[in-house]
């Protein structure tokens, strides 16, 4: 049979020499390696106090954006769910009632919007499909949990806070060409890109 590795050694029962019987050189050799590691740079990162540097285009979980007046942009058109190759997105649409204009941008909105983060492959096709600039991937990572059901993220986790200081900025993730393309007058519904381009 062919040998699996070249590092195999044949065990021999020869008598040890005096130096070998002292064991000291072997112990010192071992301690040298151990001590050497004391002075090396630590590889452990104390998450969550300390974070590894993220790529600016890291694809973490989604955000549902609000417009400049704090109304939800999503209109439950279903294109993200259609584009999703993992079929992770489901939604239920509802009609906006009079007086809710400050809550929802369009006549129709998503009353339920769920993304199953266990199914999601973070490909970003939903972001590409969205005609309303409502869904974006962010650099936030999906946290671990004990139950599968807790990975189905609803609107409570996905919609960004209405408070202007707590908004989630996604403009840095867009390339300059995207920003320029989307700030054309034809996409006037969208001030997100124009602002980011000016900044």
């Amino acid at each position: 049979m062919q040998a699996l590795t070249t590092r195999a050694k044949v065990a021999v029962n020869k008598k040890m020499t005096f130096m070998e019987r002292l064991y000291l050189p072997a112990i010192i050799g071992g301690m040298r390696i151990t001590l050497h590691h004391f002075f090396k740079k630590k590889v452990t990162v104390c998450y969550p106090e300390e974070m590894r540097p993220f790529s600016p285009v890291y694809r973490g979980y989604h955000v549902l954006k609000r417009d400049e007046n704090g109304a939800e942009r999503c209109t439950a058109c279903g294109l993200c769910a259609l584009a999703c190759p993992a079929e992770a997105i489901t939604m239920t649409a509802a009609e906006r009632k009079p007086g809710e204009e400050n809550l929802y941008r369009e006549e129709k909105y998503a009353s339920v919007y769920e993304i199953n983060m266990l199914r999601c492959i973070f490909c970003g096709l939903c972001e590409e499909a969205c005609p309303k600039e409502a869904i974006f991937l962010t650099d936030r990572i999906v946290h671990t949990d004990y139950k599968r059901s807790l990975f189905v993220y609803g609107k409570d986790k996905l919609v960004e806070p209405a408070d202007k200081d707590k908004r989630i900025d996604v403009s840095k993730r867009q390339t300059k060409s995207v920003l320029e393309f989307k700030s054309q007058p034809g996409f006037a519904h969208n001030t997100l890109y124009t602002k980011a381009l000016k900044a």
Binding site: T75, A76, C77, G78, L79, A81, L82, A93, A94, E95, E106, E107, K108, P131, K132, P185, G186
Partner: protein
Amino acid sequence: MAKVTIDGIEIEVPDGTTILNAARMIGGKVVPPAMCYYSKLKKTGGYCRTCLVKVAQGSAKDPRPMPKLVVSCSTAVQDGMVVQNITSPEVLEARRGVVEFLLINHPLDCPICDQAGECKLQDLGYEHGLEKTRYEFSRRKFNMIDIGDKIKLHMTRCILCYRCVRVAEQLTDKRVHGVMNRGDVAEISTYINNVIENDFSGNVIDVCPVGALTDKTFRFKSRVWFAKPMDAHRDCKKCSGKAVLWMKEDEVLRVSARRDKNEEVEEFICNECRFEKKKKEDWVIEKPTHISRHSVISQNHYETIKPLKLGVGSQPPKPLLNNENNR
């Protein structure tokens, strides 16, 4: 009989046939799009101008070309006529202009509209139109009108094809008129309210090429491409009872009439079938409806589902789909 050549394809049709119907007999890509003409209704056609074609040779007797593009839905063929549709750049250019005009006042709210996915104007805009609008002025706006408790009229989206007016006129009685005012301010008037008592008034939803008339019982329930259309029938005293159920699992979201290959209603169905029979038990389900695989509705839509038999003995596993789905 008259011999007519459409885009190089020769066909013999009875005298008096329109160019559009002759092209439909050939089928395929040479059929001009039609937003207002409806073969099942009388007096339709001539409004939308999307079916414009070029007549390169008038007839065998008088081979001069017609001076302008003609509307194929209301121009009769003559023996020896030569028609150009998709082979003429002039026609395509004109059609692009027509689409742009149709879209001037049509809101670009497809993400909201229930018709999206089965909208003829959406298809037309996608095939012939520009990628984006050049129009910078405000579009005309109307308040939404409820025609009865089952039909919603979203006049903003209307392209004034008059199809619903013809339905009201020809399928229902006691109707006064359909369109008020002229030109830019024309609108489907609420006189059409008079059709709501009639059993066939729901058909205005099916004939509407855009999302101006929509089913209130289906409003915002689901996008059409997430619902699974199934051919079904039931015993109905008023109509043929043949319909398409748009289902989500065991739930019937919407009932609509069956459509033929020209996307026109085969048999008009009554309001009872359309609006009231929303249970699976009310219907006998025949088979999944055939959906062209170029349509977004064909997404995850299988027409024959055979349980996968893993190779028994020496038999290889059978494919899940037969070739019919690849049409």
